[in-house]
Structures are given as C-alpha cells and as structure tokens.
Symmetry: D2
C-alpha cells in the first residue's frame, strides 16, 4: 500500500478484516506499506499491521512478493504509480478520483486495459458502492423495481470548511487534489448516480464557487479541517468550495447535483434520490444503514419505507451481525477488498473499473468546462 | 372573490375563519363571489359562505359595497382583473404567480403603485410565507442568527403527474397557466428563498423538461391530477414538467432549485434549506409544523433541532391551540387575511407586494430564457 | 354549547366549518352558547359565531330551538348536564373523559341508553379518533392487515408542567378534573388503543406519581400552563402528574401505557404503536399527518412506511386539500361533527358511544385502584 | 477467550482491532480460544485470529501465558468459569447478563472483590455503554445538563420471534439462558438506564408473557432466529417472550421498561429516553450514531437536536473517521477492550464492575418475582 493517512487507515483495516468475516478465495498478506518519511511509515506499518515498510513506492513495484498495490495518496501521484504498478504486473486498487485530469485518467485506463489482457486487474476505490444500503439500491434498480428513472437528486454536503479560519490542507491545493468539493466528494455522488441508475451523464450545466479565497497556512489540524492561526500567514485556496450542476442522463432522467463543504450542520450527507415511474429510492449517509424506498404498488397506503439494510438477504450484511445491528463507514472498504479479491481469483474485472472511473473524470471535466463558460450546456 | 376552485375554497375558509381566532381591526364581510357559470357560482357562494354571487367579475369591480377583491383564477386573467379593480379603488389580493409574463406583471405593479398613492393596496398570495415554521425561519434570519448565507437549497417536489395517463388540466396549458412546475410550484420556493434570505437572485442557469408530451383530454379528475382515459383523444402538454436551476443571490449565496411533479413519493415536499456561517435552517412542508435549526454555537453537541413551531412565542400560533397541536395547510391563508386586513387598516403596504411578486416573475422569465439558450447564465 | 374555553373554541370551529367542506344531511345552526359570566359568554358567542348566549346551561336544555347540546366544561359537570339534556330529548356531544367517576359514567350511560330508545343520541368527544392517520390505522386493523396483535405501546407525553412554578389550574384540581395526566391525556390513548385494536383492556398494573405537590395560585397563564408567581401563595396539586401501567387486552396483546406532562421536549406526543403478527402500525401526533406502517409481506425489503394520510382514498381527507397538504389539530373536531350529524340523520348510534366511554372510565378506575394497592394486577 | 459464536466473533474483532486505532498501554496477544468441539474451535481460532485453541476452558485457566479470560458462552456457564479464572489470577471480561441467578451473581461478585484485592479485575460486557452516542449521553447527565431526572423510558424491541415457526435455540431454553427477552435484551436497557441516570432502580411492578409456548426443534437457523420445520417435533419455550415493567429510581424518577422479540418491524430498537427538568435525551440503536438532545435553555426555539455523535470531542470517535462517518455495532466491543486494557494497566477497576452487573441481576430477579406475584410492587 502507498500512503498512510485517512485512506491508508481505512484500507489497512479492510485488508486486515476482510478475511475474518468473509471466506476469501485468496489469503491476502499485508506485505509492505510505502511512504516518504522512514520513521513515520515504519510506525504506520506497525500500527496498521503491515509486515514491512518502504520509503519509495517504486520499491513496492519492484518487489516480487507483492501482487497488488493499493494506492492511497493524493490524486497528482495516481497516474505515475498505478501505471508503473500495472506495467509491472501488479493488480491495482486506486483511490478516487482516478486522476487529476482526463488526460491522466485516459493513460491510466489504457494501462489498465493492457494489463487486463495479461490477467492483471485495476479497480478504483469508490467505496460507497459497497455500503450495503447503496448496494441494495443498485440491486433494486437492476431488478426493474423503479421503472424508467425521471429524476436523480445527488448531494454531498459537509461543513468542515464553514469556519473561514480552517487551515489550508492538501485538499485545498489544486496541484495535489485536482479540484475541491467537486473531485473530493462530488465524484462519489457522480459515480453512485451513474452506477445505481445504470446510465451515464450526457451533459451538464455547472457553477463552481470558492467562498473563502485564502486560508491560514498551518494551525491545529482536526479531522479533515481544524483551526488555523488567526495572525499567521495565509495561502490561496486554489480549488472550488462548492460545485452545483444540472445534468441529463442517457435514459432521459434529469439530474441535480451539489457538492459542498460549507453546508453547516451537514456532516457527511452523501445523499442520493432516484424517482422512477414505478418506485423511488432515497439514501443519506448520515443514516447509512437505511434505504428509503417508495413503491407505487403500495398506493394508496404507500410511503417511503425505511429499510434497515441489515437483513441476511441484503448485500454483505449476512456476514456481519444480526439485523438492526448497524455497520459503519469502514465496512465499505472491507467489502471492496472482498470483491476485489474475489474478482482477481476468478480472473474477472472488478468494479468499478478504470473505465468507470474515467467516465466520472469526464463528468468532472465537463463540470469545470461549463462553469468556465457561463454555465453553458457541456456534453460529457 | 373571483374564482371558486381549489384556491377559492382555501381563500373563502380564510375569510370566514380569520376573525374567529384573531382580533381584526376591520370586520371583513364576504359580500360576493364571481364565476362564469351562474348555477355553480351560486352553489359555491352558498357552500363557502358568500352573501351573493355574480357571473361577471366586472360586477364586483362596479359594486360599491365591495372594498377588496380576491383573485383566485388562472394566471392569464390576473392582469385584467387586478388592474381594473385597483383602478376602481378596490384593494386586491391576487393569487400567485402574479402573471403569466413579466410584461403583465409590470403593468400590474404599476397599477398597484398608482393605487397605493390613493391608499389602495395590492398583495400577492404567496401563502406559504405565513406557514408558522417559515415565518419563524424568516424571523431567525432577520435576527442575524444565521450570519452570511452561503447556500440556499430549494425544492418543490410533487408526484401527481408521474402517471403518464393523468389527464390534461388547465395547469398543463401554457395559455392559461403561463408555465408548468416552474410557475405553479417553483414560484413558491423562489419567493420563499428570496424573502427568507432577504436577498434577491441575480442570475440563473436553467433546464426545463417536459417528460410526457401529450395526455388524455378528460378522464377522472382527482385532486390536482387523476386518471385519464386510455383510448380517448390526447392533447399536447405545453408547459414544463420539471424546472431545475442553479442560481446566485445578491449576498453571494449559491442556490440550487428544483420544481417537479414527477418526484414519485414526494407529495408536497416544498423544501428550503439555508446554510449560514453561524446557523442553518431546513424546512419540508410534508412536516409542516416543524423547522429544523442548527446552531454552530451548540457545537460540539450541535445537531439539527426539530423545533415544533407551535409555541405561543412563534408567529401566529398563539392564537390557535396549545403547543404541539399542529396546524394545517389552510392556516397560511387565514394568516394572510389577518395580515392583509391589518395592513389595510393601518394604511400600510401588505407583503408580499406586487413589487415582490414582479421580482419572482423576473426570475421565472430568466429561468425560461436560460433554458432556451443552452442553460447559459442569465441575469435576473 | 356549554363552555367556551380551549374545547369551546375547537368545537365552535368544527360546527362552523363542517358544512363548508362536507355535504351534511342536516344543516346545523349554532343557536346558543352558555357560560356563567354574562359578559364573557356574550363575547364568546360573538367571537365563535353563536347566535345567542345564556348564563345558565339549564336554559339550553329548556329551549325548543335547540336539538343538540355540546358539553365542553370540566368533567365534574358532565353528568348533571348530559343527563338533563338527554332526558329533555336533546342529542349530546360530551367532551372526554366522560365523567370523574365510574358511578357518574354509569348513570350517564344509562341515560344515553334510555334516550337512544327515543331516537336521541349521545356521543363522547374522543376527537383523536378522527385524525385521518388514526382513522386509517383503524381501517387497516379492521381489514385484517395486522393479524393478531401482540403488542400495544401507548404514550401521551407533554411537558407543560416541567416547570415547578407553572400555576395551579383546574386541570390540577381533582374536584374539577377527576384526575391528572391519567384522565386528561391518558384517556385519549386508552380509547385509541381499544378502538383501533378492536379489543378492550382486561386488567392493569399501575403506578401514579405527583412530582410537584404544590404550585402557585395564580400567575401568568399561557396555553395550558404558564408561569406562576414565585413568592405568592401555593396550593396543593391533587392529581397525578404521571400515570404508567402495563395492561393486557382481550385478544392476548400486552400493553404498556404512559401519560405525563413532565416529558421535557415532548409537546403533544400522543403515540400509539401496534405490533401484529403480519404488520405493525405507529403514530405520533407530533407528526400528525403521517402513519407508519410495516408490512411483513414486504420483507426482506420491508421497513416502516411513512404514509402521508392525505390521499383522497384516506378517511376524510378527500374533502380538503390535495395530497401532502396537511391538516391540523382542529380537523378531528370537524370530522367529529360530520360523523355525529350523519349518524343523527341516519338514526344510528354515533361512535364513540357512552358505552365506549364508560369502558375507558373503567380502565381509569382500575389504574387508580391498582396504583393504590401496590400496583397489584387489577381487572378492568 | 471461551466461546466462538456471535459474541465470540464480536469480541475477537475487538481484540484484533483495538490496538490498530487506539494507543493501548499494554499490547494484548490473542493467545488461545476454547470450545468443546476440537475441529470447530480450531477453525474459529484460525478465522478469528487466535494463536491456539483448547477444547476445555479449564486449560485457559491453567495456562501461564494467559492473563485475561474473555467469557462468551451462555449464562449458565458464567459462574464456574469466571470464578475459576479469577481465583487463578486471570482478569476476566464476562458477557452479560452476569449470571442466571442472583445467587450465582453474588458468588461471582465476591470472587471479583477478592481478586481485586490482588490486583486482578473483572468486568461485565454491557457493551452498549461504549456506543459513542450513549457514552455521550452519560457525559451529558454527569455534567448536570439534565437536572433532576423525572422520567426514564427504556425499550429493547426486536422482532425475530414474531414468526411462530422460528426454531428453538439456546436463547429460548431457560436452563441455558436464564430468561428470555428479560435477560437477553432487557438487561441491556436496565444497565444503560441505571448507568446513564447515575441512579439504581428501587422497585418494579412487572409482567412477563410467553406468546408462543412451543417451537420447532431444529430448522433453518438465520441470524438469531430463522425458520423451523413445520411438521417436525416441537419443544417448549421456557422463557419469557416479553417483559414489561414500571419502575422507580433512587432519585425519584419513574421508569417504564419493555423488552420483546415480537415487535414486528423493530429490528434492534434499543431505546432510552431521559426527561430531566433542564434537558432531555433520547437514543435508538436503529440510528446508533445519533443522540437526540433537548435543552430547555433553547426555548422557545428548542427542539430535539439530532447530534451525530461523531465529533472529535465525543467519546471514542476521534480515533476513527471524520465527522459524520458513522461507526457500527462492533465498535462498542472495541471500545470495551480499550477501556478494559487501560484500567488493567492503571490498576483500576474497569466499569461495569461485577457489582454493577449484580445490581442488574437483582433487577431481573425482582421483575420475575413481581410477575409471579400479580405484578405486585417488588423492591430491588
């Protein structure tokens, strides 16, 4: 694994935990973790349960005892690492967004396609797909329960930048993160909307805004944000604070998307609603173990059902606890490992593929292009 | 009063009920109701409690025993009736949207301004303003509780057109209604967003869509929709089924708006959320007696409070029932009458004025212009 | 009508409004209202729309132009007035609880039975039965949707006595009110539980408690409570502050009941939940337009549906507004008038009858007896 | 560890995971797991990450390389194992309920007290205490935020026995489980109510009921329940299906408790509500990452706040994910390990102690005694 911050902790937990609750066809070994600082990466290896550590990710690519590389670093490093890994015959799990540009994403996707020919697979880490309630949503749509979809409503609302004094982090630096709310959290709902609806976006009309143009360099980092100093130096915020766009889908549905880190009071409101002609679905990650489902067949006594997606029949949940005993954020990562290992063992392409992630990247680019052109309609 | 359908019933109830629960400075008399069909308007007069009926609205304008005319007919008739009434020295309460075009709305507003000089007042019936929870929202914003507003999220979601076979009604005929979801329900959230935030929209980027292009002429009308015949003639739907747009406000806030009658499962989800730097507010008419409020000062133990807007200190509610004993949809109309009568007695302009309603009309026009021009950014 | 306080206002509104929204087989006239204070009752007549006023309820019984007497006074006066009215051939609508003792209730019920022989009817005002969501609950149970009922969970939680300094009112004086939370609000959920389940309670084990033994005499009355003086005289609270009991129903269901006015934050949480073997129902008056319904047939994708009880097919709601446009507290009273007038016109016994109300009274008595006897099981 | 079923999996996960997210003062080694079936316990050791396995728990007590024994077997075995372990100088973590009788619990508590003198500690596994939202509830009560507590409302509602054909399991066999809903799930809310309120129950009036007297022996076991055969042999259910009781607390609060596995639609509704004179708290495990909090100081704009108990300032959550990224059921067990290891390292008694658990056991006994004596009030 490359990287040992927030995503590094989540991925490590997933690799440790997956074989404890699921019968995996292959037994993953947590061979090595890489990071630039020798001392810190060694500490991370010990803490997270990796057998060894490296200070250069290239060493992971070179080592023969490594079959898969899990890339958990900022987006500006994705292309170089994943392409090298795939070319070296290592399977790859790469965090989202796939890259910081369509051009990079295309090169990565080409590398993945070439590797696939050799039985080497690449997967992109849109982990929310494996939240059981969202997996159930996908299953319901695929079953035809919703009928043709008219509306997609997608929001990802957080509030950790509301404080004008929250410090600059790599997430606010375009050279590292590629974009702001758009790529960090918007990408999740774009992927989820396309995946669950089974249709891609065909065009967008977008608006981007940066409310706070500069922020303190350094300060007290807490969670993703924190409290910057009030009298120290400031640096420029080079990414969007909010992305809002309307969209159309292949099947004719109308979409409304919003991603922001200024929605005071919304902590992790990754929300999706689909209105079909036969049924509707709604989800909010702040109540992550539940899926709301409205079935027109229930009328006149219909209403959104709060399905607790914890039944043994539901995706993944039968391997955990009895019904009603909720799962947490990290379980999506564990399920991602389960499916990735299963696909590799079966010689099948795991999902989401780099092609899927490239499509998301194209949407991100269309959003930026539209926003830069008076919100004019822009094809994806 | 002119008109005796859905809005006619609601307004009549308001005129009958207002003096029973509030001490009004003037005692309204329900003198006459007008409609084209003599028999049906006479029946409506009897049912709704009007002393007499007329088959021509011009008679109301002429009668000396009438001081105020309440206009509850489709939008295409608003300009002619209200202007005649105002010129005849009658106060006017006119249903929303104010008109079917900016040009009409401007003429009406000019007539209202001229009448005001003579102590005659005009008000537009955006009745949701008087839902206690929304009145409380306005009060909280005005008190400065939210600080500068970053986000406005406004939706008006209904589902009564989901059925492709729901019949054609005047609401689907552009010549009568002016527009579809946009003017019928979108206008409500545009007005509410501007009024509560205290700032106007400055520009929009919009998308309109008509999912079902033609519908049965006639059928079984139920509520606003119903079930059309499956083998009879069909006629064209000439209005939008959905309106979606991004927006900017004077104060720098970013807005996302959506109005639709295809959101299966959402019956009357007139929703508004404002995120300020100090507090946030959220409202959904499907839980109309509650206002959600998040106060950053409560952190780290903050959360959206579900305020039941039924306290004696809350707007209007002290005149009704003990706390927790909710009010219904029609109370907004009753409160509208209370405030209108109070303003007339005090010789003051009631709110929303025609100027306020004209501003909403300009937003509607900008939305249509943007949608017709590849969603390009369009100033209001 | 006798009485013009909280219930007087609600009942007057109902009499005025019922014929405006429903086609009644008889046209009620609001002939006269009675109260002891001549000036105040005359003002109430004017405010509430009664044609005349009387200072002695006996005058209503004597007047020939009165066919029905609506009794909205404290419980200690119910027996005398209703029996006199029934014997004089007047139909009676009597507020709940029916009486302050089983003995009074039995005499009233006997009078009602005798009157019924002469075509004169008595009804008890458990108005919550006509909240559309609860009427729908009854309909669902009657349809067999729930199967045998295992559990009944009934709460009526308010908080207006939390403040130790809230003033003494007649509701805290046993000689007037009969009991405290038990009869005032507990009676509502006892009636609702028996009516909706279709089974009576057979026994109880109860606990009563008075948290605050004395309160200020006088003060600033607001809603049902208010703020008493802090240094003036105090008087004894002679009723229960809370009633809690377990129960068994005829059909084998186990019940848990609680009524209190000290549940800080719960304003009018009149709640009922029934768990059957096939489906479950839950209701909370603080979200009064919705009924929660869980259908085992939906498993494994089952969940409590939030049914907005505002469909044209639902009880009463088709006469009001489009779906999703909620009703308020007072609509239950209006529907009560509608059904009462309909029953009288049809020569049928309206529900709830005095027999039904007597059964509630027997439960109240059993609760008090059990609480006085170490919570020992007490048959109803 | 002894036992490898549901609780065994949860505890193993906790031991594996605690050091990965928390800095523990001692490094736990997962030395050995014991179970009667050699093959299955060896498989469990491998699956759950234990270094070795034993077929007799006594071997764990004898082994020198074991410092702590975690007891995850049915209640009938608790006394023997824990007493032997404590006498052998092993720290003990024992699942709840502590025992199947007060007599056993007293002997265990005496053994724990004696062991404590020698620096050896015993803890009982009421793991819900370490659900962050409930830990936060405790912190709020301890801070005085609620003021004197008037009401405790505690429910534990599940539905996995609703199906009359669900098979017999050890949880329905009194000789193994001690009691039914009462000890299995009621014990959790009794402990939580006493712990969070900071006061013990002083007396109860109770009702127990077994709805389904016999069930199929064997069948298809799923989760805690499943589907028994319809024509095979049946065996007697020897425990309660539901326990309901009223209660009083030391501080004067009135409690209402209910535990059942027949509340159709309620999957794991472990609920607690406390009403103080200054604030109220409410929790439902089906929305386990949130705590509802009502603060009277917020009036008249007060309402239950939905606090997402995921802030860095909240108990335990700072070691996991950013705010709003929820935790799951098993995190309570991990936190339990964290605190247990911390207490052992510090030489302090971990909580809940066996004394705390004995108090719960006394409540269980009082409930059974009252239910057997016509629900008569019974001191704890």
């Amino acid at each position: 694994m490359v990287g040992y911050a927030f995503m590094g902790a989540a991925h490590s937990h997933a690799w440790r935990t997956a074989p404890r609750f699921f019968d995996l066809p292959l037994a993953p070994r947590m061979t090595a973790i890489a990071g630039r600082d020798a001392e810190r990466v060694a500490a991370a290896a010990d803490k997270y349960g990796w057998e060894s550590s490296e200070t250069d990710w290239r060493r992971l690519v070179e080592r023969d005892d490594i079959d898969l590389i899990d890339v958990c670093v900022p987006g500006n490093l994705h292309a170089e690492i994943t392409i090298a890994a795939l070319e070296a015959g290592k399977h790859v799990l790469c965090e989202k967004p796939l890259a910081n540009s369509v051009e990079e994403a295309e090169r990565m996707t080409a590398a993945a396609a070439a590797a696939r020919e050799r039985g080497v697979f690449a997967m992109c880490g849109f982990s929310y797909r494996r939240t059981p309630a969202l997996s159930l949503a996908k299953r319901l749509v695929d079953s035809g329960a919703l009928g043709p979809i008219r509306h997609v409503r997608a929001q990802y609302l957080q509030d950790w930048l509301t404080d004008e004094n929250a410090p600059l982090t790599w997430r606010l630096d375009k050279s590292k993160s590629g974009s702001g709310s758009l790529g960090d959290i918007g990408a999740h709902v774009i992927d989820a909307a396309q995946w669950i609806s089974g249709t891609n976006l065909t065009g967008v009309s977008a608006l981007l805004e940066t409310f706070v143009k500069e922020r303190p360099v350094g300060g007290d980092f807490v969670g993703l944000g924190g409290h910057g100093g009030t009298d120290g130096p400031k640096g420029p915020v080079t990414v969007d604070d909010v992305a809002a766009f309307t969209a159309r889908f292949e099947g004719g549905a109308v979409g409304v998307f919003e991603a922001t880190r200024f929605a005071l009071g919304r902590k992790n409101a990754m929300r999706l609603e689909l209105n079909g002609t036969k049924a509707s679905l709604a989800f909010d990650f702040e109540d992550m173990n539940a899926l709301s489902f409205y079935d027109r067949a229930d009328e006149p006594n219909a209403g959104f059902r709060r399905i607790q997606a914890t039944e043994p029949e539901h995706p993944y949940t039968g391997n955990w606890w009895p019904v009603g005993h909720g799962l947490g954020y990290e379980h999506g990562f564990t399920h991602q490992v389960v499916d990735l290992v299963g696909s590799i063992a079966a010689g099948e392409q795991p999902e989401p593929s780099f092609e899927d992630a490239l499509q998301v990247q194209r949407v991100l680019a269309a959003v930026e292009a539209s926003a830069a052109d008076e919100s004019r309609w822009t094809a994806v």
